[in-house]
Symmetry: C2
Subunit: 235 residues, 2 copies
């Protein structure tokens, strides 16, 4: 049996270096797009359609979608929802469809197009994602959403958590997964503390959303696995 | 006084994200281009002209240059020199000019063009580079050569060493320098051991050059600071 491999793309701007057509891609944007998506599905949303462009997202309003939009950490005016996971616990959203656009997360999904399969990862569904990858036959690529092309610590830590959890089954391919694993092992005892100097946490702290940050860094709150099919995320 | 900042570009393929015209750029390719360059200057070479393209490098042979070429870790046929630092200790090279091309390092230099100043960094001249940056007034960008666009551990560790050495004087800008610093602090007691699973060390180990790896990871063997001026490196 050939060993499966796991690689990590630390920024969407490095996607041209990776072949994805035979891989399962895990898209991650811990603060906060993929954490919101995980939360939404755990609370009974029907589906999420991710958009890279704001105008495409807003256009879905006329088709009965709730719209969710974030740019630069803030909710976009005119959207029904922003980018805090707590908004997605609202029972009113049960069974509904959401059109979703964010600064980084939905861009990373768009750049992963062409992958054999695309799933959504966050600390909130960490073990569920890891179990799914362990059972699958595909090689894995974790795509970190980063911040406007730059790498970020929180997405890298999540990638490292997957590499660590899968180390007996899936082999790291190249240095990025090793770097992520080292960082995760250094920070795992106190992820919030480890991240406190990171740029995005500082950015979000200015927006006064400590509660969001703590929640998004809490592993295994949910067991849902959002999967992209026909440009739509569902369970 | 405004605090100076240090950022780290983990791959030349991310250079479009960084403004360089007002920065001092430190180009690093630990295994082995910038380690060779540092060694060459410490042993009395006159100048090094870096080339991204092999044919441009070879063309300098007729102008009295020694040619140094590496592709995929191996010396290029027809070149006078390869990419082992020990070759550059040869007393015959004293006072001579070298035209130099490598898989990653000289590409990273080419992509740094337009910077206010470009210097060459390696563990071999680590403290000299750090002192120079500390005394200067420019913000700093460390450009890691990586491996064909992908990030690598050894260049990231060097970037982290600079961030750590300069932490009282120059502030990390964004998450990449923090990540590099964390990794360096984790690995600094035994850099060779920390790197033993990395992809480039495995690649080089197959070429049987352990001695090169150990030497390139040894801090502060030299006090030279190669600087790029008019497309040529000199002291």
């Amino acid at each position: 049996m050939t060993t499966k491999t796991i690689d990590v793309c630390l920024s969407p701007d490095l996607m041209h270096l990776y072949q994805v057509q035979d891989r399962t891609v895990v898209v991650v944007d811990i603060l906060r797009a993929t954490s919101c998506m995980t939360t939404a599905f755990a609370h009974g949303i029907n589906s999420i359609m991710p958009f890279a462009k704001l105008e495409d997202c807003l256009a879905k309003k006329t088709e009965g979608y709730y719209t969710a939009g974030e740019r630069d950490g803030k909710k976009v005016e005119g959207c029904d929802l922003g980018n805090s996971p707590f908004e997605y616990m609202n029972p009113e959203l049960k069974g509904k469809k959401i059109a979703f656009t964010t600064t980084n997360g939905t861009q990373a999904i768009a750049k992963s197009e062409g992958a054999q399969e695309i799933v959504i990862g966050s600390f909130l569904n960490l073990s569920t994602v890891a179990n799914y990858l362990r059972q699958g036959t595909n090689n894995v690529l974790v795509v970190c959403a980063g911040w406007k092309g730059k790498v970020n610590l929180e997405d890298t830590l999540f990638a490292g958590a997957l590499v660590e959890l899968l180390k007996d089954n899936i082999e790291p391919d190249c240095d990025a997964p090793l770097m992520a694993q080292h960082l995760y092992n250094q920070g795992k005892k106190d992820l919030v503390g480890f991240l406190q100097n990171s740029s995005h946490v500082k950015r979000l702290a200015r927006l006064n959303i400590h509660k969001d940050i703590e929640f998004c860094l809490t592993p295994d709150q949910y067991t849902v696995l959002p999967v992209l099919k026909n440009k739509t995320l569902s369970l």
